[in-house]
Amino acid sequence: MTARSAGPIRRAAQRFAMNRQALLGLAILAPILTCVVTYDLWWGFGPNDIDLLSINRGPTAAHPMGSDGVGRDVLARLMQGGRTSLMVAVISVAISTAIGFLVGAFAAFGGKFADAGLMRFVDLAMTLPPVIFLLVLASIAGTGIGPTIIVIALLSWPVLSRMVRARLLELRERDFVVAAKGMGAGVPHLLLRHGLPNCIDIIVVYATLQVANAILLEAGLSFLGLGIAPPESSWGNMLNAARSGTVLEQYPWQWMFPGGALVVTVLAINFIGDGLRDAFDPRSGLN
């Protein structure tokens, strides 16, 4: 047996590795992720440890990013906030990707009526103004990590379900899928062996870019006081705490670091997402 030759996924990975911008994104994101995930192993302060001797202090050796109004270490809160923000983003995107794929798959394979019904439902979901919808949902679901995840997940699946449906409708008529049907394949086989692998590019790119989007949504919700509530920290509610004019003018480290972390992370994820898109579609680089 000879070794298996490079498949479409591996060739996409090779193209990704040639993309400088995507690698830059990866180079930025990887250390951020590592720090955020492991900070409690090497950083002495917890996110809610109060140091009464250092309230609203600028960066010092003990608190390299300064401390906030109740004497909490900004660096520790930034790490914990990143953990919350990224966790909320990743879980909500996983949920919305699953919903989006399933709705798209049912629409494409469930027959005319399922298709028409589901797509009208998607239309409805898409016409809801996102901010208002978020506010209403958040006021029903409440604040905290769980509700925030649900709110973001429920908002972001319709676009993916449309893309998945379009891809599957096209795929359904392709000869190799007709061949599978001709060999007796049922819908589960068609979806798992042909549908999912041929949607993987859409899903990966969508999920990556949506993670960046979800981080911003979470930050926006928390900034409005509807997302993650203190004392739990997230990048959004750290910015929220820094809303007052005094903090803005006199204690810039309290909002600059979370703001910067937010911008850099979202940018890095977007770079990676763009790189993945180009890697999965080699033609996109040609025009």
Binding site: R4, S5, G184, R193, P197
Partner: protein
């Protein structure tokens, strides 16, 4: 008859909010294939060849008519029964680039049917895949490679191997060589003929190339606008074509003899739209022998010897 097609019709009606005429792609087609024989379907583009091929395997639902394979009418089978029955009948596609999934290795492609039908163990399936690959004269190391690494002719042979992996008794081959270079065509056709004889396959062979059909088929069905114009044993059809359409098709085969070339009948115009077919005989609008009665009477099948039938009022 191992495969018996009776009064098969397929009409494509506009669905939902779309408007437009009903397209009568196939109208009242009947023919049979004895076990181990090859029947050729010929006709120009739009004559309903592929529609018939797919209807016979119920890859699309026929509008009316009967398709019996080894005695069972596949049109009345339940979904589960049909799935089981699919093991015995396979389809070979025209386009070797579209018929293999770009995301699966050749090994995965060849074992897919056995996975679906849950035949044997994983090792059995792998062994069978290697076996059919050898049958189509491809090296075994192809199993771990992807379709994009192969040429059109090689892919077509892989498509054939996929069909054979389920050990079917009946194969519908839809223009299996029309997308290939002429030199590769001969190679693939020879392989198909050889396998058909060796494995005793019953085959419906769809083509627009009469030279290819003559070589591989026992009986030929000539189609025009979804209707049968003439059915005859291959040798008889080429020696004594009855229907004017068949004659025109045969005279269009390139010939090195300049004398023959002079007698060539060239059909003018295009095939009429199947959504508004001509009245009476559908071929009359392009027929050199058409008379006024052709517009009124729908010609019935006439016999011209053993197993030779044609539908023309004027011959």
């Amino acid at each position: 008859m191992f495969v018996d097609v009776r009064n098969l019709s397929k009409h494509f009606a506009p669905t939902g909010f779309s408007r437009g005429p009903t397209v009568r792609a196939v109208e009242d087609v009947s023919f049979g294939i004895p076990r181990g024989k090859v029947v050729g379907l010929v006709g120009e583009s739009g004559s309903g060849k592929t529609t018939i091929g797919r209807s016979v395997l119920r890859l699309i639902e026929p509008t009316s008519g009967e398709v019996r394979i080894d005695g069972t009418d596949i049109r009345v089978l339940s979904a589960a029964e049909l799935r089981k029955a699919r093991q015995r009948m396979q389809y070979v596609f025209q386009d070797p680039y579209a018929s293999l999934s770009p995301r699966m290795t050749i090994g995965q492609i060849l074992t897919e049917g056995m996975d679906i039908q849950k035949l044997g163990t994983k090792a059995d399936r792998r062994r069978k895949a290697a076996e059919v690959l050898a049958l189509v004269e491809m090296p075994e190391d192809a199993l771990n490679r992807y379709p994009h690494e192969f040429s059109g002719g090689q892919r077509q042979r892989i498509g054939l191997a996929r069909a054979l992996a389920l050990e079917p008794e009946f194969i519908v081959a839809d223009e299996p060589v029309s997308a290939l270079d002429v030199s590769i065509q001969a190679q693939v056709i020879n392989l198909m003929r050889d396998l058909q004889l060796r494995l005793g396959l019953t085959m419906l062979f769809i083509s627009h190339d009469l030279a290819v059909v003559e070589y591989i088929c026992d009986t030929v069905v000539v189609l025009y606008l979804g209707r049968v114009m003439e059915i005859a044993p291959a040798a008889d059809l080429y020696a004594h074509p009855q229907h004017p359409y068949t004659r025109a098709l045969l005279s269009a085969i390139p010939s090195p003899d300049p004398e023959k070339r002079k007698q060539r009948q060239i059909l003018t115009g295009d095939i009429p739209s199947p959504s508004s077919p001509p009245s009476g005989c559908v071929f009359r609008t392009r027929c050199p022998m058409a008379a006024s009665e052709c517009a009124v009477v729908n010609p019935a099948m006439k016999s011209a010897g053993e197993g030779h039938f044609y539908a023309c009022l004027r011959v």
